[in-house]
């Protein structure tokens, strides 16, 4: 007895995805998801991107989400399909990226029997998702999918997984559209919609009183939406308060603006870290006092009154005790601060913090990002600077892998808009950047998408170059090739007596030939005279390009706050020596 109002689980999934306005899904088929793949075969609203390994799917979904502001979606099979996405789910959880992962599961009656390609998916992914589901009843499927999207994108965003046994994909039920679902508020945890007026008033009062204020802005500002960035720019311009951003905050405020001190933290700018250390008022907008940012906690910004805006209650007072906080959305709160200042005609212009800016400009004179580019060997910093100069006029998205190249990219590439910078911060996942570039290019087909890579990271998910070729995604992989796991080598040099244990990457492929064998294009720059040509050629080709840039093998990433050191104990160059006591303490940290 077929009821025409009933659909299979696979069709319900497709209907729900359409209802959620999903147009792209990254995935890899397998036994436990064949009914879903069959449903995908018979439709045309959803573009499926076939990756080469499931890790590629999850990072692509992350890149898609970060660059578009939408939820990224992926589809994988049971067992190894899902264990392969564990790293990416953890990455998305750490970096608050909204993704929904659909996984197939063995049929319900086989669960628990150690069936072929069975694993305890919800058990394995429980600590690395914001939430997960095992759907055993097809009549619950519509509601579950809609709730999953809502949870992934609400409050502090994150990854959500839905495990669907194969029999549920075949079973039939009614479809419930999104508009007919009433979400239960306690499960969505969207944060407060009411602006904390007391917080706003206290903040404005403190801004009026303070001599040395600073904005410390993180990825939460990005996740609050593009409007947050607009309100932030307005507020900074109005108050003339210096602003520093975390790795994920880059782009929330124009990097080349005079008020920007650039990135702070372990490889942050001297002026940014010193200003954090000496400020008397810290306004944290969506950052989480991460250990890469704070350095040694007992010496972190000792003299400041701290305000913290974060939608995640558990980020408040976790690492650093703050004086005032609010869990209301950043956009709403910043808007209220701006309108409070306007409606009360508060004169902040008179307070231009002359002494404070004078101090900051003195720190700036250190030119902490200075490097010496010789006449032959390409300095990695120079490669990024040239890449920026030659591509910044375009609509460019940058993804990265993890390591020295990532920090140089953060230091030397300047971002003027949010969502243009896609990097693995919290988890530090090597192999993230290239699949993330695939996702970013899918979301932004007409833009220039560049993965700034190291040769070691790139090799971790190199198979995805085939995905880029298949879908004609003209992503650029800009490899700073130093034949080392550069950041590992740098730490070994600083902390382990230059014993470069296993950090030299021997037997590297010829990246140019490698590109050609994948039907992509390879370009190479061996010395400074070839650099600009290689970049220009890379950008001009409307196909996937691997640019193999040979850089100085021994260059280290500075400035650096070694682990266990405080903000004012930065090393500015290889000639700076670390306090030996800190060095011993820092050795055991990460």
């Amino acid at each position: 007895m077929d009821n025409e109002n009933e659909f299979t689980g696979a069709d319900i999934l497709l209907k729900a995805l359409k209802d959620q306005e999903v147009d792209t899904i990254f995935g890899y088929p397998g036994g436990a998801v064949l009914p879903i793949y069959d449903a995908i075969f018979g439709q045309n609203f959803l573009k499926h991107v076939l990756v080469r390994q499931e890790a590629g799917a999850v990072h692509a979904a992350e890149g898609y989400a970060r660059s578009s502001g939408k939820v990224g979606v992926l589809l994988v099979t049971s067992g190894p399909g899902v264990t392969n996405v564990v790293t990416g789910l953890t990455d998305a959880l750490m970096d608050s990226i909204p993704i929904v992962c659909i996984s197939g599961q063995v049929p319900s009656h086989l669960i628990g029997t150690d069936a072929f390609q069975e694993c305890d998916t919800t058990g394995i992914t429980r600590p690395c998702t914001k939430h997960n589901y095992l759907v055993k009843d097809v009549s619950k499927l519509s509601e579950t999918i809609h709730e999953a999207f809502k949870i992934a994108s609400s409050g502090r965003p994150g990854p959500v997984l839905i495990d669907i046994p194969k029999d549920v994909q075949f079973a039939k039920s009614k479809y419930i559209p999104k508009k007919d679902i009433s979400f239960r508020e306690h499960r969505i945890k969207a944060g407060s919609k009411n602006v904390n007026k007391n917080f706003v008033e206290e903040l404005v009062n403190h801004i009026k009183k303070s001599e040395r204020p600073i904005f410390y802005v993180g990825g939460g500002c990005l996740n609050s939406g593009p409007q947050a960035s607009q309100e932030l720019i307005k507020l900074v311009n109005k108050t003339n308060i210096p602003i520093t951003t975390t790795l994920h905050g880059l782009g929330c405020f124009p990097g080349e603006d005079k008020s920007s001190l650039g990135m702070l933290g372990m490889h942050g700018n001297y002026e940014a870290n010193l200003a954090m250390n000496k400020c008397d008022l810290m306004i944290n907008v969506g950052a989480r006092f991460d250990d890469r940012v704070t350095g040694r906690l007992d010496a972190f910004s000792p003299d400041s009154v701290k305000f913290h805006i974060d939608i995640d209650q558990s980020s408040i007072n976790k690492n650093v005790k703050v004086d005032f906080h609010t869990n209301t959305d950043i956009t709403l709160t910043l808007k209220e601060i701006n309108s409070f200042i306007e409606s009360n005609n508060i004169e902040l212009e008179k307070k231009d913090y002359t002494n404070w800016w004078g101090q900051i400009n003195d720190w700036r004179k250190k030119e902490c990002l200075h490097y010496e580019q010789g006449e032959e060997i390409i300095k990695p910093q120079h490669a990024i600077s040239r890449l920026y100069d030659l591509t910044s006029h375009k609509d460019t998205f940058i993804t990265t892998e993890v390591g020295q190249h990532q920090m140089w990219a953060a230091q030397y590439y300047k971002f003027s808009k949010p969502n243009r910078w896609i990097t693995s911060g919290g988890l530090g996942t090597m192999g993230f950047g290239m699949p993330a570039a695939v996702g970013a290019q899918m979301a932004n087909p007409d833009s220039l998408v560049i993965d700034i890579a190291g040769e070691a990271s790139f090799l971790m998910n190199i198979q995805e170059i085939a995905t880029a070729v298949q879908y004609k995604l003209p992503i650029k992989i800009f490899i700073l090739n130093n034949e080392y796991m550069g950041m590992v080598r740098q730490w070994q040099e600083l902390l382990h007596g230059s014993r470069y244990s296993e950090s030299y990457v021997d037997a590297l492929p010829d990246f140019k030939k490698l590109a050609e064998s994948f039907n992509a294009v390879g370009v190479r720059a061996k010395n400074i005279s070839e650099l600009d040509d290689a970049i220009n050629e890379m950008v001009s080709i409307d196909r996937p390009v691997i640019a193999d840039i040979w850089v100085d093998k021994k260059e280290n990433c500075f400035p650096m706050i070694p682990s266990g050191a405080a903000h004012h104990e930065m090393l500015l160059s290889k000639y700076d020596k670390e306090n030996p006591e800190n060095q011993e303490k820092g050795k055991v940290l990460v």
Partner: protein, 178 residues
């Protein structure tokens, strides 16, 4: 600690420990206990005792009570992390309430050899008003309720009797704010 026993306690000199009793209301759904236990083990928090039962069938709610150790900052972080879990309605540190009551139940099986032991056991059981569940020739089973400290004290007293064999099970504390 502001918790007061629902049962009278004979000796009121228990030392104040840095324990907290957390009361958590959750949707009763598969995996919820694993989420909570996983949060504790994954973030390195202690579970001293744990109790979970459905308390509202109509709305499908369970109440989980966890006894944990830690300084105030850690407990606040545990509460914040618990409240991030999707099926969690609320997480409360009973110590932060102005008024809350705590109780635990314990079943004790005591094997003894002689009359002298029996008299001593009987005496303690009477002082602590434990209920006799079963009594045979050389074996007695008591049920005792009250705060965990009260039960501890009862068990300490029992242990002063030489030559008996004690086997027991405890529910862990449960508590309710008013």
């Amino acid at each position: 600690m502001s918790s007061t026993s629902v049962y009278p306690t004979p000796i009121n000199a228990f030392k104040q420990s840095k324990r907290s009793v957390l009361s958590i209301i959750v949707d009763n759904e598969p995996g919820i206990l694993a989420r909570i236990v996983g949060l504790f083990s994954g973030r390195g928090y202690n579970i001293e005792a744990l109790n979970v039962t459905v308390v509202d069938i109509k709305n499908n709610l369970s109440r989980i009570t966890i006894e944990t150790l830690g300084e105030e900052k850690v407990i606040s972080q545990i509460i914040a992390q618990l409240e991030k879990l999707v099926p969690v309605h609320s997480a409360t540190n009973l110590a932060n309430l102005s008024e809350s009551y705590e109780a635990e139940i314990c079943l004790v099986k005591i094997e003894f050899d002689n009359n002298e032991q029996d008299q001593k056991i009987l005496n303690f059981a009477d002082i602590y008003r434990s209920r006799t569940v079963q009594k045979r020739q050389n074996i007695v089973v008591y049920e005792i309720s009250g705060t965990s400290e009260r039960i501890n004290k009862f068990l300490d007293d029992l242990n002063t009797i030489g030559g008996i064999k004690v086997e027991l099970v405890r529910s862990g504390p449960i508590g309710l704010g008013i």
